[in-house]
């Protein structure tokens, strides 16, 4: 693998769902790269294929056609177990509905990905504390999700996404369930993370939020219809496309 290989690379990726004989092309022939350290907003109307795309980048799903490369390696060549391990170590998911385990407290939720990295409980909890601290939620470590506000739950979810120091954080409408002020706080948390070098891809409906990301990808009916990068600071990107 050369140093030039982008973190994520999509080449002519299509994803077609077949239900009862009807084929729905959720993503069609999409190609783009994401480099280390970028923050990318993905926009598009409902049903345009944003989540489908995100699932493929997050190794939860495979393209029907084309290929997704993670650090130059075709993810379709990996075993299901290997993709799972990569999800634990290299991908951090943040969902619109937080997806915390209701029956575990905040710190246990944050530590969860490390269970699947084979890390011992003591170290898991120590790292979960550090991760909660980083999102300003350490004081809620032993609260259960139902005892937390939406914004607090989303911070815990972000702490969980960050705990294994992933290559990339994938957030599917992370502010979708929050009021605009809380949403803005979450957004500035992402911005701060990105300033430390964290690669982030974020689905959003809110043009205001997208405007704060340097790069925005637009989807429409499964097709890539726009890929804009704002001035001033152009992120380093691979020249190959």
């Amino acid at each position: 693998m050369t140093a030039a290989a982008p973190l994520i690379s999509l080449r002519s990726v299509s994803r077609t769902y077949r239900t009862e004989g009807v084929a729905v092309a959720a993503v069609r022939n999409v190609s783009f790269d994401i480099a280390q350290g970028e923050i990318v907003a993905v926009m598009g109307p409902s049903g345009s294929g944003k989540s489908t795309l995100m699932n493929m980048i997050g190794l939860l799903d495979l393209p029907s056609e084309g290929a997704v490369y993670l650090q130059g390696a075709d993810v379709a060549d990996l075993t299901e177990d290997r993709r799972s391990s990569l999800r634990a170590r290299s991908i951090g998911f943040v969902f619109q509905s937080y997806n915390l385990l209701a029956r575990h407290d905040a710190i246990e939720n944050v530590a969860l990905p490390l269970v699947y990295c084979g890390i011992a409980r003591k170290e898991r909890l120590a790292r979960a504390e550090a991760s909660l601290e980083a999102v300003g939620m350490l004081h809620r470590a032993h609260h259960f999700p139902r005892q937390l506000s939406g914004g607090e739950q989303q911070r815990v979810a972000i702490a969980r996404a960050l705990i294994a120091s992933p290559l990339i954080v994938l957030a599917d409408e992370p502010t979708g369930a929050l009021d605009s002020r809380t949403g803005a706080e979450i957004l500035s948390l992402f911005a701060a993370l990105n300033r430390t070098g964290q690669t982030i891809v974020m689905i959003t409906h809110d043009p205001g939020i997208a405007a704060q990301c340097r790069r925005t990808i637009h989807l429409h009916d499964g097709e890539l219809v726009g890929d804009e990068t704002q001035a001033p600071a152009l992120p380093k990107r691979s020249a190959v496309s």
Partner: protein, 407 residues
């Protein structure tokens, strides 16, 4: 994910719903408890029989009265004492395979020593009795020839009677005790042979006849209630049995074609047969109890399937966060295993309690069998694996994307 982590997650999940967890494992609890109880009672019964077989002594034949005809009417077995002391003598002298023999008569009476008294079996017999049964003395001596011939006022105590009549420091040998107002000197105390055997006091046969039982109408001077005889070697049991029967038929002048007025039995063989029967019944009961284990397993599978459906979203989250299919499978398998093991442990505890209660109430001997406990736990684990596998497999096969979409 390791096995240990699997168990931690499982315990956490089961603790959240203790009542449901307990109800789920109830079938296993009942199954294992029944198996342990059946084994405990069955092996207790076997132990008791084995003790009895041992206490009779090796290669012992027992001759008891049989049917008697009076005016063409067959009377109940044992209604008349048909054996005599001269029969004992004849058996000893004329059958070479017999190395010892003794006649006995027995009844119950109160024995008294100073302030203490005890109801026990009084057995009138000869020293030969102890030879036949290989029964050694703990202290003192057997009856002397003079005492046997002359209705000596002496007694040999079984260990239970000695314990009941004498304080731990007291030496019974030489002490005077009374049976039916007759003072007797204790000349011997026997070794322990087992709780059912040791509650007895032996007096010379002549003493029993003349001093205690002489007035009973069915006792003539020469009769004995039963005879025990020791055969020299195991292989000669059948031969000796037949010879005794022949000899007694001749001596009792029984015409050909008429039933014996006695029975020659091999009590050890009879008890061994009984032991086999107990084993068969115990196995049958265990088989029935296993059905409960099966039902318990099905109930665990049922609850686990529901649980997998309820927790689809959790499964989706775990998969998205890096749980492999096998991690999910392990998690649910561990839950089934924990349910079964916990149910098994509670069942073992319940079974032990139950069999001890039964033992106390019914006065049975029970013996808690380590093997039965081990076996029940192995069964529980197997049940958990077999019935937990399908739900766990189902959970592991869920698509993470679909699972995340469920509410």
């Amino acid at each position: 994910m390791t096995m240990l982590q699997g168990f931690q997650i499982a315990l956490h999940a089961l603790r959240l719903n203790p009542l449901r967890s307990f109800l789920t494992m109830l079938g296993i609890v009942i199954g294992v408890a029944s198996i342990v109880t059946v084994f405990a009672i069955g092996s207790g019964a076997q132990l008791r029989l084995q003790e009895q077989i041992r206490s009779i002594g090796a290669n012992v034949l027992m001759i008891t009265p049989g049917a008697v005809y009076q005016g063409g009417v067959r009377l109940k077995d044992g209604s008349k004492l048909t054996m005599t002391e001269s029969d004992v003598q004849a058996i000893l002298e004329q059958i070479p395979e017999i190395q010892a023999a003794a006649g006995s008569i027995a009844g119950t009476a109160q024995v008294i020593h100073e302030g203490k008294n005890w109801n026990t079996t009084i057995n009138g017999t000869t020293t030969g009795h102890f030879m036949v049964r290989d029964w050694q003395l703990a202290a003192g001596r057997y009856f002397s020839a003079t005492e046997e011939a002359g209705a000596g006022k002496v007694v040999i105590l079984g260990s239970t009677v000695a314990r009941e009549l004498f304080a731990p420091g007291d030496d019974p040998i030489g002490a005077q005790i009374r049976i039916m107002k007759v003072p007797l000197e204790v000349v011997g105390v026997l070794d322990r042979k087992g709780p059912a055997q040791d509650d007895v006091a032996f007096v010379p046969l002549t003493t029993a006849k003349l001093r205690f039982l002489g007035s009973a109408s069915n006792i003539n001077r020469d009769s004995v209630a039963y005879i025990i005889a020791k055969v020299t070697a195991d292989g000669q049991m059948a031969g000796a049995r037949a010879e005794i029967a022949n000899l007694l038929r001749q001596r009792h002048r029984i015409p050909a074609g008429q039933d014996d007025d006695f029975k020659v039995q091999d009590p050890a063989a009879a008890m061994e047969a009984q032991q086999g029967a107990i084993r068969t019944v115990a196995l049958l009961l265990v088989a029935i109890a296993s059905v409960s284990l099966l039902v318990g397993g099905i109930s665990i599978m049922n609850v686990m399937i529901v649980s997998v459906t309820e927790r689809t979203r959790e499964i989706g989250i775990r998969r998205a966060l890096g749980g492999r299919m096998r991690d999910i499978r392990l998690q649910f398998l561990c839950e089934a295993l924990v349910l079964c093991l916990l149910g098994g442990a509670i069942g073992v505890a319940g079974g032990i309690t139950l069999s001890m209660t039964v033992a106390r109430m019914a006065g049975w001997v029970t013996s808690i069998d380590g093997q039965a406990i081990g076996l029940s736990l192995v069964f529980s684990i197997a049940t958990g694996l077999v019935f937990g596998f399908y739900p766990a497999h189902k959970a592991s096969k869920l698509s993470p994307i679909e699972a995340l979409k469920t509410e």
